[in-house]
Structure formats: structure tokens, C-alpha cells
């Protein structure tokens, strides 16, 4: 499955604390092409993670519309969003969020349990996903037997095993050293270039941001500015 395009129109999101409205996103417009690798940057509280959650169907906007491929997320209820996520989105978290009592292969297999497929087919897809991230020789290891980088690779395998349209990554290298971060980011580039996945990644690291094609800077809940990365700009030139 190739990537899906993403369109956000006049998206607003506010939280309430003691009846006080706290706006997080304030009329944001953003369009992402199918197969594009977009990086979200901005100071803390600028709305990056909230935007990621809205695109991933983990939260609903207070106003405006969020479309991912054919799906209009603002019209979906929680049950529909849960089912949609399992089919169309792969998530990568900063802290990996692997289940410590399961092996790498079992962690990768988790999203496939929501699909109707034979155990043989599941096993095949798990092996392929772990091959892609270069960890087929660690499939029977538990998370505590893996390094941080390896854990994140397993998390990436879990994110791609269902062949989703969109991969959402929230600071995927935030807990890794520079060399391992580079390996993970190269892997994400591979998913984007080889498998044509649409990727939306949040990061604070300007060096990591250069792995994307376009950087979107948010500030106070609005799109502050956009820029093409050096690699993309170089490719255009």
C-alpha cells in the first residue's frame, strides 16, 4: 500500500482546564502529499504532538476538518477511529512502548491480531517487517535483551507490519545517541523512498529534521513557516 495524502483545513483544538479554554491549534491549514516526508518542529506547546494525534485519529478537532486519504476523521466516532487506525496508521513513539513480556516478533505481531489472517501469514509478515529493520536475528529476544536502537527498530517493524498508508513518528530519536539516531532516520528514509509511505515526524533536533523533505514550523498553534530541507532543495537545484 502506498501513502495517503493528508489535508487539514482551519483545524482548531482547545483543551479546557477549570472551564478555562486553552487553545492549542488555532485555525491551522496544512496539506501533505501522498508519499511525502514532512517534519514538524516548534517550541514546546506549539501544538506539534496535538497535530500528530489529530492526524492519527487519537483525538478529534474542536473545529475544522482533518482528511487522511479518503477518511474524514472529524466525522468519525471513537470506535470508527480505533478501527481506522488499525488499518491505515503506523505509530512510532519516542519511548518505543514495546510490551516487555513479549518477544520482538510477538510485539511486531500485535497489530496483525486485529486482522483476519492465518498464523502462517502473520508469521511471514512479521519476518518481513523485522527483515526490513535488520532485526530478523533478534526476533525471539525480549525488549530488555535489546539496545535502545534495536528496540526502536522493533517499534518501527510493528508500525509497518500492517503496511499502513501513513507513519506518524513522535520524536523517534529523542532517546537515542547520535549514531543510532542516524540509523533510525535512515530507516525512515527507506520507508519513505522504497515503500512510498507518507511520514509525519515530530522532532526538536534540526539535524534529524533534515532527513525529511519539508519542515513545517509551528508556533502558538499556527503554521509559522515552511521550508524545504537541504536535501530536497539540493534535489530541486
Amino acid at each position: 500500500m502506498s501513502g495517503a495524502d493528508i489535508e487539514l483545513k482551519d483545524v482548531r483544538k482547545a483543551y479546557y482546564k477549570d472551564r478555562l479554554e486553552i487553545p492549542v491549534l488555532d485555525g491551522l491549514d496544512l496539506a501533505i502529499r501522498s508519499g511525502e516526508f514532512v517534519v514538524l518542529m516548534g517550541p514546546s506547546g506549539s501544538g506539534k504532538s496535538t497535530l500528530l494525534h489529530l492526524v492519527g485519529g487519537l483525538d478529534s478537532p474542536t473545529g475544522g476538518s482533518v482528511r487522511v486519504g479518503e477518511a474524514r476523521l472529524e466525522n468519525m466516532n471513537e470506535r470508527e477511529l480505533t478501527a481506522w487506525r488499525s488499518r491505515h496508521v503506523g505509530f512510532i513513539f519516542q519511548m518505543y512502548h514495546l510490551v516487555p513480556v513479549l518477544t520482538a516478533a510477538q510485539n511486531v505481531e500485535l497489530p496483525l491480531l486485529l486482522y483476519r489472517m492465518s498464523s502462517g501469514e502473520r508469521r511471514q509478515r512479521v519476518t518481513t517487517a523485522l527483515d526490513v529493520v535488520g532485526l530478523s536475528d533478534r526476533m525471539h529476544h525480549r525488549p530488555n535483551q535489546l539496545s535502545g536502537g534495536q528496540e526502536q527498530r522493533v517499534a518501527i517493524a510493528r508500525a509497518i507490519v500492517t503496511d499502513p498508508d501513513v507513519i506518524l513518528a513522535d520524536e523517534p530519536t529523542g532517546d537515542l545517541d547520535a549514531r543510532t539516531s542516524e540509523e533510525i532516520l535512515n530507516l525512515m528514509n527507506l520507508l519513505n523512498s522504497e515503500f512510498k509511505k507518507t511520514i509525519l515526524m515530530v522532532t526538536h533536533d534540526p539535524k534529524a529534521a533534515q532527513h525529511g523533505e519539508r519542515i513545517v514550523h509551528l508556533d502558538k498553534g499556527v503554521l509559522h513557516r515552511e521550508e524545504l530541507t537541504a536535501a530536497r532543495a539540493g534535489a530541486r537545484a
Partner: protein, 390 residues
């Protein structure tokens, strides 16, 4: 779709202490439940197996048991007129006059703890009237001799009741009787008794009247008219089928079981809280996991079910452990003092399939009840908050 069982199984070992304590609490409750119900099943089996539906036991009106009943010779004479009484080959009416008394006999291995054992004085006719009583060793006591036959259950539970051993009976405990026979009665209450010739027993216990009369009827259709006749003004005594008489003696057991069941119920509520405590800890320790599972598409229902399965898994494993421990009590010989007859009934604890089913049902209920609130908390977890706080 549910999460794999291996996920629940391995999570049981993450919090070994709290899981272990919960396991022990549930296992102990199951053990207590199984032993209690085995006790009740053993007593019921003994009493229900006693008597024949064709035998009527005739007592003094108002008497609740043979031990509190006194029948005068003229009253017994009136019973002879009862319609439908069976006859022996020689034409003799099958009516057995019996005297029921008690004597303190030491328990096997516990000589300092004597029990009140039922002693029954009978005539030879009684061996035919009580058709489920069979001699299995030795012979029946000879009329006119200081001899007794003992029930199999009494022999296994009390001291000095082996063949050819001598036992001191009587009001003053100073009459020596020799054990000449052993009988069985399909595991019923009569097997807990010692039988001797009626005149000798009456003399030894200074009783010049009998306690009861057992009337053997020709067929089931004779029961109702015979009972009506004995209760009528013509006889003025009470009569009921033997089976009914012994069933009524189980009433006390039912009371004990009910009272103890209330205690087990209270313990089960405590166990449910212990399970809840463990599961709350599990939910709190796995907030990130739950949030991740919800993020990748597992529904709230799948999360609830997963925690319930985990809880039920702990409880059913504990149930298996508790039941295994209770097997050690299965077949154990005990005796039970009836507050109606003031004699003991020797019985064996019986672990029946029904008890196993009850134990599993209790453990599943405790598991589900204990997991309900923590599982709902897990399902209500706000995914975004849990991911952020991670």
C-alpha cells in the same frame, strides 16, 4: 480480537509478590470451600443412603429421634394391626422392636476423646427387616449372649471394635460384650452403630421399654395407609418412612453448611478485593502498554477482556491448587455428633464433581468481580495523557 494468552500469562509473573499473595488467598478459600462441601457431602451420603422406603419407623408422637422415644408394650401391640405389613416365609409379621441407646467409645488413636456411639438392641427379626444390612465378617450375635456386631464405619473410626475384641457397654460401662460380627449398610448411618441382642442391651442399659418399632411393608402402595393408620386414634403413634427420618437428620448439616457458606462468601468478597488490588497495580504499571495497544487499534473491550482474563487466570490456577490440596482430605474418616440423636455418625469426606464445579465457579466469580473495576479503569484511560506521561 483478544490479546494473546501468552501476554496475560507472562504478565502474571511481572508482579510476583502481589500475584502470589492473591493466589494464596483464593487457593485457601477454595480449599475451605471444598473441605466444607466434602464434609456435607459425606454426611448427606451416609444419611441419605440409610433406610428403606418400605420400612416405617414408629416413634412416640413428639419424639424427634429414636433416642428420645419410649414405646410401651401396649402401644407396640396396637402397631401389629397395621395394614400392609410384610410377612416372613413362616408367616411372622416383619415388625422389629428396637432399643436405641448410646455409649462412650474411644476413637481410634485418640483414646482420650471418646465419642457417643449408637448402640441398638435388636431381635433376630431385625436382620430381615433392615434388608440393606449385610453381615460381611463373623456372625450375628446369638440371642441371650453378651455379643455384638459392629458397623463397618464404626469399626474403622472407633477403638476396640475388631472381631473377638471385648467392649464395655451398659449404663455404668461395666458389661463386657464380645465383637462377633461386622456388617455393612450401603454406607448409611446404621454402619456407625453397634448391634446387640435386645434383652441384653435393655438389661445392660436398664431400659425396660423399647425406643422404636420398624415395620416392613409389602409394597410402596402400603406406605400411605400404614402411616395414616399408625397416626390415627387407633394407635396414636408417629410413623414415617425410614428414608424420610434419616433425611430429616441432615437438617443440622444443612444449617452448618449454610452458616459456613456465609463465612466463605465474606472471604470471597475479601478475595475479590485482593484480586482488585493486584489488578489495579497491574493497570497502573501498564499505562503505557495500554495506551500503545489502544493506539494501534485494540478496542476498549479488548483491553477490559484482557485484564479480566488475566484475573480469572490467577483465580482458576489458585482454584486448581486449592482443589489439589483438598484431595488430601478426600476419604478422610470423621464423625459428626447429631444434636437430634446425640450419637455420632462416622462418615468419609467426599470430593464430588459437583464440589469441583462449585469451586471453579467461585474462583471465576472472584476473578471477574475483582478485575471489573481495574479493567474499566484501564479501558477509560485517556490514551493521549498516558502516552504523554510516559
Amino acid at each position: 480480537m483478544i490479546l494473546p494468552l501468552s501476554y496475560n500469562w507472562r504478565n502474571l509473573f511481572v508482579r510476583k509478590l502481589s500475584t502470589g499473595l492473591t493466589f494464596i488467598v483464593v487457593a485457601v478459600i477454595v480449599l475451605v470451600l471444598a473441605v466444607l462441601l466434602s464434609f456435607a457431602a459425606g454426611i448427606r451420603a451416609s444419611l441419605v443412603a440409610t433406610g428403606s422406603p418400605l420400612n416405617l419407623i414408629v416413634l412416640k408422637p413428639g419424639a424427634t429421634a429414636e433416642s428420645t422415644s419410649i414405646l410401651q408394650p401396649e402401644e407396640i401391640a396396637r402397631v401389629v394391626q397395621t395394614p400392609g405389613v410384610a410377612r416372613q416365609a413362616d408367616g411372622a409379621l416383619m415388625i422389629s422392636s428396637e432399643v436405641a441407646v448410646q455409649s462412650a467409645i474411644p476413637r481410634l488413636g485418640q483414646r482420650d476423646r471418646p465419642a457417643n456411639v449408637a448402640i441398638r438392641g435388636v431381635d433376630v427379626l431385625a436382620y430381615a427387616v433392615h434388608d440393606n444390612v449385610r453381615l460381611v465378617e463373623g456372625r450375628w450375635p446369638d440371642a441371650g449372649k453378651m455379643e455384638v456386631a459392629v458397623g463397618r464405619a464404626a469399626q474403622k473410626r472407633f477403638a476396640g471394635l475388631r472381631l473377638n475384641e471385648s467392649i464395655a457397654l451398659g449404663r455404668l460401662g461395666n458389661r463386657d460384650y464380645t465383637v462377633v460380627g461386622v456388617f455393612e449398610a450401603d454406607g448409611g448411618a446404621l454402619e456407625s452403630e453397634v448391634w446387640g441382642p435386645r434383652p441384653q442391651i435393655q438389661d445392660s442399659f436398664e431400659r425396660d421399654v423399647v425406643s422404636s418399632v420398624v415395620v416392613r411393608l409389602g409394597g410402596p402402595a402400603d406406605v400411605e395407609p400404614a402411616v395414616a393408620y399408625i397416626r390415627s386414634a387407633a394407635v396414636q403413634l408417629d410413623a414415617k418412612p425410614e428414608t424420610e427420618y434419616y433425611r430429616e437428620l441432615t437438617a443440622k448439616t444443612t444449617e452448618i453448611v449454610m452458616l459456613t457458606s456465609v463465612l466463605i462468601g465474606i472471604m470471597a468478597v475479601g478475595a475479590a478485593f485482593a484480586v482488585a488490588n493486584t489488578m489495579y497495580a497491574a493497570v497502573d504499571g501498564r499505562r503505557r502498554e495500554i495506551a500503545m495497544l489502544r493506539t494501534i487499534g485494540f478496542s476498549r473491550g479488548a483491553v477490559v477482556l484482557s485484564f479480566v482474563i488475566e484475573s480469572v487466570l490467577i483465580c482458576t490456577l489458585a482454584c486448581v491448587f486449592g482443589l489439589t490440596a483438598s484431595v488430601g482430605f478426600n476419604g478422610m474418616r470423621q464423625d459428626f455428633l447429631s444434636d437430634t440423636t446425640w450419637t455420632v455418625l462416622a462418615y468419609e469426606l467426599r470430593l464430588t464433581p459437583g464440589i469441583v464445579a462449585w469451586a471453579f465457579a467461585l474462583s471465576v466469580v472472584v476473578g471477574v468481580a475483582g478485575a471489573a473495576a481495574p479493567a474499566l479503569r484501564a479501558a477509560r484511560l485517556r490514551v493521549i495523557d498516558a502516552l504523554r506521561k510516559a
